[in-house]
């Protein structure tokens, strides 16, 4: 197979140039620091800080979700690799306003190791208090503690952004984001692989007529490898799996997120959305908010994920609170 063409310059400069792109497009609202940190130019004094981050290559997550009502800084690793700890330390120091800093990032071994060490170093240096709420929404695997962070991470970051903007204390923000984590489930489906920009090689292989339900954002194996099936059949499988996992129940109010992993068309997402609304309606689950788009990608992987977040008044308020960032804003 031919290598996937990418519009880039030198591969070793990708992450740095992407960060410069965000700074340019922010028109003064963001700046770079410590090489791999994107930070708000002005942070409200006395607010609880929020730092997000992870491996690059999943843009817009996590790097771009920095701004008023979102994260105060993001830390970018190399493509699909956790960022080194000194960048985490620098980000924490850059956003700390004396109220402590919350970390939100995906539950991957490499990220946990690097963010933990980075946070400890920051605390050793300045005494800043740091708490972490991992994104661990992928219900493709059974064990809660080791679940991966995928598309629902967008909701968790959004809620963390609003919580840290409003909260009086780090504990209060942490508790809200923890509640989001508890109520959030995502299931993805991969239709075709993305590629590594350094090599143009695919990140995994699927047969010409195969899809994999639950495949992870880096090609980790999922729930079921299956033949291509009609959208309605696939949607039912995914919704049934998701709903049973929490479980979501009749009378629940939810936010519903359709996330494009990269190359899937909006046409397909809308066909799936139509069926998902129908199925949730039949189950008596009320959709209070719906988001559709590319929030958490895996290069140009074809596929999508569906996330459900069970809402209470607090979570709904935080999800709907205004925010600004390069790729997602709401009034």
């Amino acid at each position: 197979m031919a290598k996937v063409k990418k519009i880039i310059n030198e591969t070793e400069n990708i992450v740095s140039e992407v960060l410069d792109g965000y700074v340019a497009a922010s028109m003064g609202k963001l700046r770079r620091t410590a090489d791999r940190v994107l930070v708000r130019s002005e942070i409200e004094p006395g607010k609880v800080g929020l730092v997000i981050g992870g491996g690059s290559g999943h843009e817009p997550v996590y790097t771009s979700y920095v701004g008023k009502g979102m994260a105060d800084a993001s830390v970018a690793g190399n493509i699909f690799a956790a960022p080194a700890p000194q960048f985490v330390t620098a980000a924490i120091k850059a956003v700390d306003q004396g109220k402590g800093v919350l970390l939100v990032y995906g539950n991957y071994a490499g990220d946990v190791l690097n963010f933990d060490m980075g946070a400890e170093d920051a605390t050793d240096d300045t005494g800043v208090e740091v708490r972490t709420v991992l994104v661990a929404d992928d219900c493709a695997t059974p064990d809660l503690a080791t679940r991966r962070g995928i598309g629902g991470g967008f909701y968790q970051v959004k809620i963390a952004g609003a919580a840290c903007a409003e909260a009086q204390s780090l504990e209060e923000a942490e508790a809200a984001v923890n509640k989001c984590r508890q109520n959030l489930r995502t299931l993805g489906v991969a239709v075709a692989a993305g590629s590594l920009p350094e090599t143009g090689e695919p990140t995994f292989t699927l047969g010409d007529d195969e899809i994999e339900i639950g495949l992870g954002a880096h090609g980790e194996v999922g729930v079921e490898r299956a033949k291509l099936m009609p959208a309605d059949v696939l949607t039912k499988k995914m919704i049934d799996h998701l709903v049973a996992d929490l479980p979501y129940q009749a009378g629940d109010r939810v936010a519903l997120l359709f996330n494009n992993l990269g190359a899937t068309t909006q046409m397909e997402l809308m066909i799936v959305a139509r069926k998902a609304f129908e199925l949730l309606g039949e189950m008596g689950i009320e959709v209070a908010r719906c988001d559709i788009g590319a929030f958490f990608c895996s290069q140009e992987m074809a596929g999508f994920s569906i996330s459900l977040l069970k809402l209470d008044d607090q979570l709904e308020h935080l999800l709907n609170a205004p925010c600004e960032s390069i790729t997602f804003s709401q009034g």
Partner: protein
């Protein structure tokens, strides 16, 4: 037998070179059961470590280990950045003298095994590099009475036994975890890196003997 600061530096540089030379082997190993980036990440980290070790003006042997380990942590990224950074950095405080002797070498591996387990939470049997570093440390400690070369040889041999044992394990950590039974038949990439590092160290000690 003991290694001077400059000999220790040369040993550590040889270990870095071994990783840099084996990037393709490590890439293939991680492609089999992980996400394929172990080789590239290790090369990035150990290239930086080599530079840091060569540039260091250490007051003790331990400061050389610290310079190398810190460089790996700061540049490698991913799980292995921390794990293999600690592999070098763990003994930094203990090795406060001007030479590396048999006891020092064994204490390095023990410190690495301890700190890596403390931070990473992987236990023996989880199919990680812990399965290589733990038997390496144990074998090295048992050989302390036989001198530095015996310790280095025991360490490398222990790592190989551990790495070979990972072939039949299913993973409980990292990206190979989701593979379940499918991970069987392949060694853990990080365990493989551990053998490459300890083989290079042993070869250097042997040359100097």
């Amino acid at each position: 037998m003991e290694l001077s600061i400059d000999q220790t530096r040369a040993m550590l540089v040889a270990m870095c070179d071994a990783i840099i030379e084996n990037v393709d082997v490590l890439t293939k190993a991680d492609q089999a059961i992980g996400d394929g980036d172990h080789g590239v990440g290790m090369r990035r980290g150990f290239k930086a470590a080599k530079e840091a070790i060569e540039a260091a003006e250490p007051g003790s042997v331990g400061e050389l280990f610290k310079a190398g380990g810190s460089a790996v942590i700061a540049t490698s990224g991913g799980a292995s950045g921390i794990i293999f950074g600690l592999f070098l950095r763990a003994p930094a405080k203990q090795l406060s003298g001007q030479t590396l002797d048999a006891a020092g070498y064994a204490s390095w591996l023990t410190a690495a095994a301890t700190q890596i387990q403390a931070r990473g939470n992987a236990k023996p049997g989880d199919k990680t590099m812990v399965d290589a570093i733990v038997p390496a440390a144990e074998a090295a400690q048992a050989a302390v009475g036989d001198g530095l070369l015996a310790v280095a040889e025991a360490g490398a041999a222990g790592a190989h036994r551990g790495k070979d044992a990972t072939v039949e394990m299913i993973a409980s950590f990292g990206k190979a975890k989701a593979l379940g039974e499918r991970a069987k038949g392949h060694p853990d990439p990080g365990a493989l890196s551990t053998t490459i590092l300890l083989d290079a160290a042993r070869d250097y000690v042997k040359e100097q003997s």
